[in-house]
Symmetry: C2
Subunit: 456 residues, 2 copies
């Protein structure tokens, strides 16, 4: 089957690119209500495409925000597996506009890359799936697998309505496994299996002392300084070896196996010093930077503020100080339990003479991990290698994709993350782009993959 579909993609490459450009030209910015009609237009584009592909039960599901596009293909037969394909058609705002070398919503090819907002995140990758379905329909008249399509318009604003829908309409989205292409490879043309994502939680700590800023000459020596109290609390939470010193924080953490460490070593690592300008890396004692970013939990202070922040000096004891903290979690850690441990620690380490308040982040997520030797993962790795002509590497990622955790928690189905982006794509930044290599070989990978899944 694959040969014909692949041939179709080659013959129709310029048509397909033109059609993708039509999709990318719609400024479907979800965060800005000025673009509401464009967001609708992008959803309509998908609905029309699914209709052309002879999908059934196609729906533009209205939500409290932007619509979710749903559709089913059941023509592969009862013996074929059903895949839930998730993607999103909304994009980040294009600002700052003046930094774009070409118009964000007028796609342009330069040096083998297609420049447009959403080209990599995620409209380009969504389009690749639809184009692959088209290739099958036009050459074989059917798809090798049954498909449920779920393409939302609110990923860039937190997917809150999707969260509700996934919980409330379980039957609708139930499938044998899920495929998501909303991530990247560790390097251009380096086939990459992403088999784990970190979870996420956070707290905000506010230390309050006097009810107004005080003259340090009049009150210094009688009043606990809230910034110092906050610093002492924060410093008690992590030591200089980057070990998190909150009681119970590491309880239940799945250890990194020797096998995983080997897999991680094989993945081409980023040069952290060159990429960030730091004098040297700093990681949890006993782990390399790569092991820590991929496979160990983290604790970061994202922001801090209190007292006088202007030019020069103001001799006050400030009335309060606040720190924002988020943690990235690994399998075995429960976000709510971690929040509780953090709060307990803060309360225990707050000195006398000040009050403290801990606010818990509402949106938390567990980590996700699939075994790298799962058959659905192995087939994906083989497909990548065949399409790109290079051995596939296996990585876990320090970031979080909430929808992955939700699908895992609600449906307990395996999730295969088939990303084709590259580290140079500049997601969320000016001059977002996607390599045409990834477009071509990525679609080839998908065709090999569906065939292999069907052949099972």
């Amino acid at each position: 089957m694959s040969e014909k579909a692949i041939a179709y993609l080659k013959e129709n490459r310029s048509n397909l690119l033109e059609k993708m450009n039509e999709f990318l030209s719609i400024p479907s910015v979800s965060t800005d209500s000025e673009y509401k009609q464009d967001v609708e237009k992008a959803a309509d584009f998908l609905v029309a495409y699914l209709e052309k592909l002879q999908f059934e039960k196609i729906e533009k599901m209205e939500t409290a925000g932007h619509p979710l596009v749903y559709g089913e293909y059941n023509g592969a037969g009862a013996d074929a597996p059903t895949v839930l394909f998730y993607g999103h058609y909304d994009v980040q705002p294009a600002d700052p506009l003046e930094q774009w070398k070409s118009e964000p919503f007028s796609p342009e090819v330069r040096d083998g890359r297609l420049y447009a907002r959403g080209s990599s995140d995620d409209k380009g990758q969504v389009f690749m799936h639809l184009a692959v379905f088209e290739a099958y329909m036009e050459t074989e008249g059917s798809l090798p697998v049954n498909v449920k399509v779920c393409i939302e318009g609110e990923e860039e604003i937190g997917s809150e309505n999707l969260y509700e829908i996934l919980h409330e309409q379980k039957d609708k989205f139930q499938a044998d496994f899920a495929v998501i292409s909303d991530s990247g490879m560790v390097a251009k043309n380096q086939p990459t299996i992403l088999y784990g994502l970190k979870g996420f939680t956070g707290i905000e700590i506010t230390v309050t002392g006097p009810d107004h800023d005080l003259h340090s000459g009049m009150y210094g020596g009688a009043v606990r300084n809230p910034i110092m109290a906050l610093s002492q609390i924060l410093a008690s939470m992590k030591d200089e070896n980057e070990i998190i010193t909150v009681d119970g924080f590491y309880d239940g953490v799945y250890p990194l196996t020797g096998e995983e460490r080997e897999l991680m070593k094989k993945a081409p690592g980023e040069d952290f010093v060159a990429a960030t300008g730091i004098p040297e890396t700093a990681s949890e004692q006993g782990y390399t930077p790569q092991e820590h970013t991929m496979g160990r939990p983290t604790f970061e202070i994202n922001g801090i503020y209190g007292g006088y922040q202007g030019e020069g000096t103001k001799t006050i004891i400030p009335s309060e100080a606040t720190a924002k903290i988020t943690c990235r979690l690994v399998p075995g850690q429960d976000p709510e339990r971690i929040q509780q441990l953090l709060e307990d620690h803060v309360l225990k380490h707050t000195p006398s003479g000040v009050n403290v308040e801990v606010k818990k982040e509402r949106l938390s997520a567990k980590a996700y991990k699939v075994e790298p030797d799962h058959p659905l993962i192995q087939k994906a790795a083989e497909s990548y290698t065949k399409a790109f002509g290079k051995e596939t590497v296996y990585v876990r990622m320090g970031g979080s994709i909430p929808v992955v955790e939700w699908i895992d928690a609600i449906y307990k189905m395996p999730i295969v993350l088939l990303g084709f982006g590259t580290p140079e794509d500049r997601l969320h930044s000016p001059n977002e782009s996607f390599p045409l290599d990834s477009f071509d070989r990525g679609m080839e990978t998908l065709i090999y993959y569906w065939d292999k899944v069907r052949a099972n």
Copy 2:
């Protein structure tokens, strides 16, 4: 002598009040160039007054900023001591205007208090000295002491030009001792000798990590967090017992003697909890809040900032974080040495993976202290007690008055701080006021004092 002069003040009270109101009505706001002419006008008022008092060598000394008013009285004879009287005729801005119950530059008496900007700080207190000189001249035809008057127009903006002048024209300002009335009593009608002021210094610490804010999912685990590094540095500088843990910080500090602790106990202490709303006080182990504020050095973080400070969460590792620190010093501590100790400590306690920069505050000052049993202080205490009918208390203050330190350092002369303000005067705030009690009894105190100094 005193009786006649005191009688003069009583008889001419309403004239003198009217004249003071004329002075207070001039909006001599030094910080705002819009008021430049008014500042000149206030200086001219003083020049005219000194002329009427038959002072010699009267000068409106031009500076790079506002003029300094100088004058000499040498009629007390060669055997009489010479006093340098320092004060300032500039005032803080009146904003926010809408919070004033009467116009800031239209003095109004309510409930025994005169409301006007500068009534307490410092025009009212400067005027009292001139009125006392007038009382002597009108009744005795001479003053009991020789006087050098130095009234500047830039105290509220840092006295930088005065600093230069005091250094460059030493002979001009040389005297046997100095008197300054730019402070207050610990409570209304509670005679108070302020015999010590703290010194002052500061540093600003900036910790720099990556050259831009990083995604915590991509780099968390490889990069030292600058806010955490800063917190660890700060927490290493003071412990939970409010003891400053910077090596050598307390070296050379003059210990609080048992006698001083007794003096401090006698001074009516402020209720720190009620005044500030803190849950409880926090002071250096082994010292009461009063002892610490008055007589022990302090270390305060005045402000801190870094990373994301908006609503909600932003999962970044920030590129840098900054803390502003000032210390109040006691006799025996050298500000420049303290800055060096702080810098050394910071450099030593900075973890790997970040850079740190320490910026030293330019304007530092040593602490000032005169022995409470110095004869010039004892005479002041007796004069207070006689005028107010109440035993005088002795206090040291946590605040700093830079000009005191400069006069001390340059001229090595004793400085007597004769303050008549009260804690309720609302200096620098809307509705500044000065009790008429303080006006009457303060002038009486000055008359007793000059007589006693002369009688020596």
